[in-house]
Subunit: 526 residues, 2 copies
């Protein structure tokens, strides 16, 4: 700890301490019939911290959570880092194999797992891990997690954070190499991005935030901390379905929620969809929302905020701020502007669009380049992968892999992706990982996987396959084979057989395949 009177290390953990001091009796967490005040949330966080410390965990130790959006998962975002540990929140949609890889690669020493997800661990050797089950009943009788909290001291634990640049969490992303990479966040970055989210989405003490967005996605885009910063209310949600969400809008007076366009499409197309009495702010990222979707949301009294970012930027880091000049445009033109990615948050640096040498491209709305970021809202590193970190940080900027044009007024607009990534329903899928799975089928000679546009999911993977001479396989066989060793959402929707287009040197020309599948569209991301 520094000894300067005029310096505190920036950490989002302070948000909870403040909220519990200012709003001790206010409802911090709602989960069905369960309610926790801010004072209770702080005490539960203290117990989690003290429990971890008593179990011998301390500075820089990794603690994994595999759970949906339940109170325990929110508590993890305070209790784990307050012990000096690094939170590893694992995507619950992954396969057992992928979860095993992340537990191993992150070096997690302890795992908290939701009872519903325990079957995912069955194929894994978890003897090395200390596993604690979360029954999510909130009751001592039948919930091992509650007993873990109960056995620990409720007293404020000693502060252990010595430097705001220390790691707070590690979020695994499907990188371009096919193996998940552990994106490391710092306390400073998490603090500043949480405030950036507050400002971009106008969260206040009156906000009631519905957890439609998974907390395992970039720590819930840092909203796990942002909602607490303003003393708002977190409304948990174990499973997302349109009915529950529409019920909660009314029942709990929801003011904010977040999600990829997929989630929005599900909601506005539900039987229950109706114009809301109060405006609800919906923050959209993961893919540009269509003009139709934006118009529908407005009709139903949602206020759409479009943001953009990556796991490597703590989730969203740019926002498409409204321009007065757009008032005079047609709804379609307005929506087209709103679907651009805008510019950096108040707490982010401005993003740039660069050529291959890292130089600014022309701000003409036509030239294409790669979006690059720098500053407090960029990850520290890929855990235990200095090579990938160096590559991503070339020219001193983080390379997003997203290709965009740069408008004269500074706004960026994504057009294509340099990285082999498919974004489907807000989840990243590495085309290389899918290709490797397809190629493991004995009949496959070679293959190429690209994203194709999809109305509901934005993008879905499609495989182009050349079979071995004399071998045979059907589309169904290839897909079934993939489902055996990969999360189901990553498996191709379609398989097309035939020769692959190649350069004279034998390199597969994916752009030829993409051009065919995306014909008639302005951009190659959806």
């Amino acid at each position: 700890m520094n000894d300067k009177v005029y310096r505190s290390e920036l950490t989002p953990l302070d948000f909870l301490e403040r909220a519990a001091s200012i709003f001790p009796r206010k409802t911090a967490v709602i989960h069905g019939r369960r309610r926790y005040t801010y004072s209770e949330l702080l005490e539960r966080s203290h117990r989690l911290t003290n429990g971890l410390r008593s179990a011998g965990l301390g500075e820089h130790d990794r603690v994994a959570f595999l759970a949906p959006n339940i109170p325990a998962m929110l508590e993890a975002h305070y209790g784990v880092p307050a012990a000096g540990c690094v939170l590893v929140a694992i995507n619950t949609r992954l396969s057992s194999q992928e979860i095993g890889y992340i537990l191993e690669h992150s070096g997690s020493k302890k795992l908290f797992v939701d009872r519903e997800l325990v079957p995912l661990l069955e194929p894994l050797d978890t003897t090395r891990l200390d596993v604690i089950e979360i029954a999510d009943t909130g009751s001592l009788e039948d919930d091992p997690y509650e007993r873990f909290l109960q056995s620990a001291s409720p007293e404020p634990p000693p502060r252990v954070l010595a430097d705001e640049e220390e790691s707070i969490s590690m979020n695994y992303t499907s990188g371009t190499t096919g193996r998940p990479k552990g994106v490391v966040y710092s306390h400073r970055g998490a603090y500043l991005n949480a405030l950036g989210e507050v400002l971009a989405t106008t969260l206040t003490a009156d906000s009631v935030y519905l957890w439609t967005l998974p907390m395992f996605h970039c720590n819930g885009w840092c909203f796990t901390w942002a909602v607490t910063a303003v003393g708002g209310t977190h409304v948990c949600l174990r499973h997302i379905d349109a009915d529950s969400v529409w019920d909660l809008f009314e029942l709990e007076g929801i003011t904010h929620y977040n999600g990829a366009p997929t989630v929005q499409i599900m909601l506005v197309n539900s039987d229950r969809a109706r114009r809301l009495d109060r405006e609800v702010t919906v923050t959209i990222a993961g893919a540009p929302p269509s003009p139709t979707l934006l118009a529908t949301l407005r009709e139903l009294n949602f206020k759409p905020v479009h943001v953009y970012g990556l796991t490597e930027t703590y989730g969203p880091t740019t926002v498409t701020e409204w321009h007065e000049e757009w008032e005079g445009l047609s709804l379609d033109e307005q929506a087209t502007w709103m679907a651009t990615q805008g510019q950096g948050y108040v707490t982010s640096d401005l993003v740039r669009v660069v050529d291959e040498e890292g130089k600014d491209i022309a701000r003409d709305g036509e030239t294409m380049g790669e979006v690059v970021m720098r500053g407090n809202i960029v990850m520290k590193e890929y855990h235990d992968d200095p090579e990938a970190t160096t590559e991503a940080f070339r020219h001193g900027w983080f390379h997003s892999g997203d290709l965009a044009v740069w408008h004269p007024d500074g706004y960026v607009e994504l057009r294509d992706r340099a990285k082999d990534i498919i974004i489907s329903g807000g989840e990243n899928i590495s085309t290389i990982e899918v290709e490797q799975a397809v190629a493991r089928h004995p009949a496959v000679l070679e293959c190429a996987v690209i994203a194709i546009p999809h109305e509901k999911w934005g993008e879905r993977p499609k495989a182009f396959v050349t079979l071995k001479p004399g071998a045979a396989a059907t589309q169904e066989e290839i897909i079934e084979h993939c489902r055996d060793d990969m999360a189901h959402f990553k498996c191709p929707d379609a398989v097309e057989f035939g020769d692959l287009p190649k350069t004279s040197t034998g390199k597969v020309q994916k752009y030829v395949l993409r051009e065919r599948e995306w014909a008639g569209r302005d951009r190659r991301v959806n």
Copy 2:
């Protein structure tokens, strides 16, 4: 500059760069008929920076401004620190002598002075200083400041900030010693407090902020930077009078303004006062607002936000957040709670109330202690005064000199002042300074000055004087004598002649005088 991809030095100067990039054509500044867009404000700031650099000024050089709330004063908050210089914004209500002392003590090398205030410089030797006059016409023809800008390059100057803890400004305060002290702010603290102000007062891109609060007060409580952070509009104001303010509410669609209760009282008692069509957020500090004032503000559709702080805490650093539990209370009880000082901003540490050994007092709403602060929203130091800095920072916390009770829910409530400070209309007056001025009158043997409650100004100084044997003087003569060498607002309103109450060791018992003057009141601050 650091070379980490994941770290930018925090500085409020980035707010302007971002606003100019995102809202280039939006109105940033309104001053009568003059309008500057964000793109123009940035260019004018660049010119100011380049002009200063061309004039040989650079890192850590002090540049003083003596001006009302005009565009040049706002530009100073960006252009001066961007040159690596430290801004010294001087209180225009001070006497020539006091201004001379500040120019000398701060070591200012250059002074920009508003034409109206040039007479204040006449008694001073300014040969050492490079003085540039601001005619505030915005026209090259007759405005030396405009010519200074015009002669400089409009190009973005090189970034010179190497460390966010470097100094950005120096704000002189009437300390307890009678001599103004230069309170030094850092880029990091200014950035974080500006965001704290945004959150406490809910500033957004739609905000139109009226500059009733002097920018020379704690850099306008950091609103010089906060309004720009969200891309809001600054509405300048050369002189405050109720008519202009009521005109501007309507004409420019004001959404926010700040001020001491004195300013509010002037506004709500004006002939023009009427219920506003839209809610206007009014942020009040400098003295606790009375229940009557709070009720009147609400009737007129003002949303009062009560904040508290000192020059040493970048202006306001605590806010009285509304509690749901208060809904059931009477208006009077609500107002009583709203008049407490609340707790730290999101970006501040929580404040504590301590005894003389620096230990927490009981949180019982009765025991009195001193309010102390720590963290990013505490000044770096008193310029060139290590002794006063050490004293203020004893036990590792900044000592406010304000005495308060601590409520069980964490809120603090000021009751008295340990420091010999009178706060009159939001301006600090050192009782010691007034005593020294009174004592310089040849007929005075000794004297004591205390604050007495005043309906309009909150507090005013009153002098208790013992005359030399055989000497004579009237109240009017004493006051007139004070006006000769001190700013007029600091001079006593009343003088009472007689013996002073003393301890057995001969120390003046000011509390005896205070008890008499404040009889029948709950607290000794107003």
